[in-house]
């Protein structure tokens, strides 16, 4: 495929080159902590999380008599559709998925379910139901999964507007969950055939894992991921396989080789392994940008030289459109660590702007095209792609100053190597999320009673870490496992995929009619436009009726933003849920600079300083600076006091000398002396006898007096201004 024009696309500095605007409001620590205190965590979700952490009965995600979740016959398998999807769409998708449905039904037997129509996921009065609403409707409750009630493995077939990411996150705490939603009907057929071929022995891959990580010069994020995620995981797999005779080989693609050409060979090319983990930046585009739908989450390769050298260009990242055609990823499982690698939610998860509002990232939540294309590759798709919804952070593998905290990844990879389904392998990632979120919840609870109980920096860190941990999602059937042969397998066997041509046409970008109505009018219009584009590209399936105009866009109120062609991302104001929420003084918790200084001094004497995440010597330097600043201000105050004391006198003396260098008693002749007191009284001492040269010297002395006076006045003014600025202007009498 020909390259697009190689022009700079994204500028740094947090600036989007397309709009010139920032997308994320600041996250002040105090406001984050305050906003976190106002978070309305659903009680049921919190109970799920705490249960995974604290309740031994819930430590296993499925009831123990059903095993560890690997045996579909014991734990079941199901598909969830949106309740208000058109029946013809659901039927067509099921028909396209038939080989997979048949395979799973045979395996799961009585524990096979299809949740469609009234049993599917519902939107009620413009709001999506919660996970607990849904499972309760089907006879289950919080706690380990009972596969006789609801199957353990669940495949969501819906776009994330119809069935929100939040539902997937919550369901994933206990269940093994995956999602697919392809734009074309034929894609379902491709994917289904890929999975069936892999699980019926047609695909046999060598037990090979590849770890691919970029490390751009001057880029802390990828330097960290290369050193503390990718390399340690590669070493771990090598060691593990040897120790337990698992027969896996591990390869590390060093950053210098982690370019786009190499990545193409690993994604359907000649070097495609059974398991591939990539750690890179993900491309991101602003609200409604024309590149967002197609290129969000594209993987930035080492071709980009780094922020200090150049802006990112089109040739630096790999998007869906760049995938080589005709090559197969059959049998492979991929893990992409990158921002938006799996999808983009509607609201910015990290945008707590001044504890007031959040902004929309996209006109509707969506899945990234790259993983979808990998799954639905016509020549043979990957079995599953694990990626990140929203942004990914170094919190995923670093904790405070601790480096390489990758136990959850190690567990996931071990289970995959051991032949477990990906949904089971991901369980420790879920437990990690549960642990962080429970800790955050506990800290927030403590803060309600003692505002000093936890540093706001710690709260902010845990909040970001919890969001990050939650964001991992499986795209694909969660019951798939890497299609590897016995340990002695050296060559990959990937048959050519044979797909029926019966499945044609595009599906709507939003499958559920109720979910579509929950969007604003402008966003519904954009969805319709996207549908038309898909139809133009792939042919019509069934064009959804344009929903009747309805101003009840309850979730995304956007008065004034529904203008045609408007690129203004909607904002949603936060409403405080507590009458005891922290009072705000225009967003500044300090009434004066000196209060802030005092707070800073306190922070550096407490654990709060830990949150700066600096080297120990750097933190000590800052502490000494803060102390130094405090001393400097005190010195200034003392200076002011002395200078304004009654006895304060300015003295200017003028001498002549033949000798340069430091003042020497010998060889210096004192000529003039002027003393000026605070009231301006001046006392000038002159020589008893003067000659003509003294006139010039007197002129110099006068000049020195002028300079000294001006300097004294300027110094006093500076101190005076400082007092006002730092301590606050004096208040008038009430």
């Amino acid at each position: 495929m020909s390259e697009l024009n190689d022009e700079p696309l994204v500028s740094f500095n947090g600036i989007n080159g397309a709009t010139g605007e920032y997308l994320t409001p600041p996250t002040p620590v105090e406001q984050v902590a305050a906003a976190a205190r106002n978070l309305s965590w659903r009680r049921e979700h919190l109970d799920d999380l705490r249960g995974r952490v604290f309740d031994t009965a819930q430590a296993m995600s499925v009831l123990p008599q059903f095993g560890d979740g690997s045996d579909i016959q014991r734990v079941g398998w199901g598909v969830i559709f949106p309740a208000s999807a058109r029946p013809e769409h659901v039927d067509a998708i099921l028909a396209a998925l038939e080989p997979l449905i048949h395979l799973r039904k045979q395996a799961a037997g009585k524990r096979f379910r299809i949740y469609q129509g009234g049993d599917g996921f519902r939107w009620i009065d413009g709001r999506p139901e919660t996970k607990n609403d849904w499972i309760t409707r089907h006879g289950a409750s919080v706690g380990p999964v009972d596969p006789d009630v609801i199957p353990f493995h669940l495949l969501i077939v819906a776009d994330p507007q119809s069935i929100p990411f939040q539902f997937q996150y919550e369901l994933d705490v206990q269940h093994s969950v995956g999602r697919i939603y392809f734009p074309r009907l034929a894609d379902y057929a491709c994917y289904a055939r890929s999975v069936v071929d892999a699980e019926t022995g047609s695909v046999r891959l060598a037990r090979r894992a590849v770890f691919f990580g970029t490390a751009h010069a001057g880029d802390g994020a990828t330097q960290a991921s290369a050193d503390h995620l990718v390399k340690p995981l590669h070493e771990h797999v090598s060691r593990l396989s040897a120790d337990f005779s698992m027969g896996w080989s591990s390869e590390l693609v060093l950053p210098g080789d982690a370019d786009r050409a190499t990545l193409k060979t690993l994604l359907g090319g000649s070097q495609t392994p059974a398991f591939l983990l990539t750690a890179t930046h993900g491309m991101a585009w602003p609200y409604q940008h024309n590149r967002q739908a197609g290129e969000q989450g594209a993987l930035v390769c080492q071709d980009w030289k780094g922020p200090e050298v150049e802006k990112v260009k089109r040739s630096h990242y790999l998007a869906a459109a760049d995938l080589p055609e005709g090559n197969s990823l059959a049998g492979s499982i991929l893990f992409t660590f990158a921002c938006f690698g799996a999808g983009t939610p509607y609201w910015d998860d990290y945008a707590i702007a001044q504890n007031t509002a959040r902004t929309a990232l996209a006109a509707r939540p969506f899945l990234s095209q790259l993983p979808l294309r990998l799954l639905a590759n016509p020549a043979g798709g990957a079995l599953a792609v694990v990626g990140h919804i929203e942004r990914a952070w170094t919190h995923s593998f670093q904790w405070g100053k601790l480096q390489s905290q990758i136990q959850a990844y190690q567990s996931m990879i071990y289970h995959l190597m051991d032949g477990k389904p990906i949904g089971v392998a991901m369980d420790d990632m879920n437990v990690r999320y549960a642990q962080i979120a429970s800790q955050l919840s506990n800290n927030l609870q403590e803060l309600k009673f003692d505002p000093q109980a936890v540093s706001p920096y710690q709260v902010a860190f845990e909040w970001a870490a919890a969001n990050d941990a939650r964001g991992y999602a499986v795209l694909g059937d969660p019951a798939v496992r890497a299609a590897v042969g016995p340990p002695e397998t050296r060559q990959d066997t990937r048959p050519v995929l044979l797909i029926s041509q019966a499945f044609m046409g595009a599906l709507p970008v939003v499958l559920d009619q109720e979910a579509l109505l929950a969007l604003s009018q402008e966003e519904q219009r954009l969805a319709g436009q996207a549908d038309q584009e898909l139809i133009d590209a792939h042919g019509a399936f069934a064009v959804p009726q344009a929903p009747p105009a309805d101003g009840t866009a309850d979730r995304q109120p956007s008065p004034g933003n529904d203008l045609p062609g408007s690129a203004q991302a909607p904002r949603q104001e936060m409403r405080s849920s507590s009458s005891t929420s922290q009072p705000r003084t225009g967003g500044t918790p300090y009434t004066s600079v000196v209060d802030g200084l005092a707070f800073a001094l306190q922070q550096y004497d407490t654990a709060g300083a830990e949150s700066f995440n600096l080297r120990d010597d750097a933190r000590e330097k800052i502490k000494s600076i803060v102390t130094g600043l405090n001393n400097a201000l005190q010195n200034l105050a003392r200076s002011m006091e002395k200078l304004t004391a009654d006895a304060a006198t300015l003295t200017v003396t003028t001498s002549v000398s033949d000798l340069s260098g430091e003042a020497q008693a010998g060889g210096t002749d004192l000529r003039y002396r002027t003393n000026i007191n605070l009231l301006g009284d001046m006392n000038v001492l002159v020589p008893r006898s003067a000659d003509a040269s003294d006139e010039a010297l007197l002129a110099l002395h006068t000049e020195m007096v002028r300079l000294a006076l001006e300097n004294r006045i300027a110094f006093l003014k500076t101190i005076g201004d400082t007092v006002v600025q730092i301590f606050g202007a004096p208040k008038g009498d009430g």
Binding site: V10, S11, N13, G14, I15, E21, L23, T24, P28, D219, G220, A224, A284, P286, P307, F337, C339, T356, A357, T359, R391, W393, P456, F461, A464, G586, G587, T588, P589, Y590, V593, G596, F599, A600, Q603, L614, A618, K621, I622, G628, N631, A632, N635, S639, L643, L650, V652, T653, D658, S660, G661, A663, L700, H701, L707, A708, N711, F715, T718, D721
Partner: protein, 254 residues
């Protein structure tokens, strides 16, 4: 023009008018020694000093405006939820004060983001180096303000005069009896330049301190956190840079 500190760390001038040096042989009572070597031609020397004075005046006029500018920009952030339009702005922090705040606002000391749009022109090393710089600056300003300054003027190696200025502004000057009146006048201009520089240094230091508290309180970091210090340090310089650029194109008001 050279400013020399006692000890091993060279002094430095945030306004880049004075070259920095260190001299461990300086007496303990001397905070900083200011040495100026002027051109032999008096007119050239005067023109040089006039230019330095102009630059100092620009900084002197800009510094009192920093706090108001910072408060205005921070209020703007609070009010608008941080939707600055930065199209066309460069990544250089020195060029645009608001981009400094933008960078600080987006920087998360608790972790690195893999979202390319969150890329910032600063990293942990940059932040830490500014913090170190402020530490040394803080000590230097205290030296300047609490100890005696020694100001020494020469032309073509020939000594003109030396002044000692203590923290209270008392001045003691020794003149070379053999120096011409024109050259002696140059020392007065040098002394004026030193005093103006010390005042500017003090104001800069106070603006950065106050600024770091204000920025930290409003943005992501907390008062006097490393990012707040970085932001304040670069913000103040950016405002002065803007002012100097503006002033360079305009005649000075009398």
């Amino acid at each position: 023009m050279r400013v020399i500190s006692a000890g091993t760390h060279p002094a430095f001038d945030v306004f880049q008018q004075w070259d920095g040096a260190a001299d461990s042989a300086l007496p303990a009572a001397i905070g900083l020694a200011w040495h100026v070597e002027l051109p032999e031609d008096v007119n050239s020397a005067r023109a040089y000093l006039d230019e330095q004075a102009r630059r100092s005046r620009a900084a002197q006029h800009a510094l009192p405006a920093v706090d108001a500018a910072l408060l205005r920009d921070l209020d703007d952030i609070r009010a608008r939820g941080f939707r600055y339009g930065f199209a066309g702005d460069t990544a250089s922090a020195a060029g645009n004060p608001r981009s400094v705040l933008a960078a600080a606002a987006r920087f998360d000391m608790t972790g690195e983001t893999f979202a390319l749009w969150d890329r910032l022109p600063l990293n942990r090393q940059a932040v830490e180096s500014v913090v170190e710089r402020l530490g040394r600056w803080s000590e230097q300003v205290q030296q300047a303000m609490t100890l005696t300054a020694l100001v020494d003027s020469r032309t073509a190696g020939a000594w003109i005069a030396s002044s000692r200025v203590d923290w209270a502004g008392n001045v003691d000057t020794r003149w070379n009896a053999a120096a011409s009146a024109n050259r002696q006048q140059l020392h007065a201009a040098v002394l004026e330049q030193v005093l103006a520089t010390r005042q500017n240094w003090l104001r800069f230091f106070l603006q950065v301190t106050a600024g770091a508290v204000r920025v930290g309180a409003v943005l992501a970091s907390g008062p006097l956190s490393p990012v707040a210090i970085w932001a304040a340090w670069n913000y103040v310089q950016a405002v002065i840079g803007e002012y100097q650029t503006l002033a360079a194109g305009m005649p000075e008001a009398n």
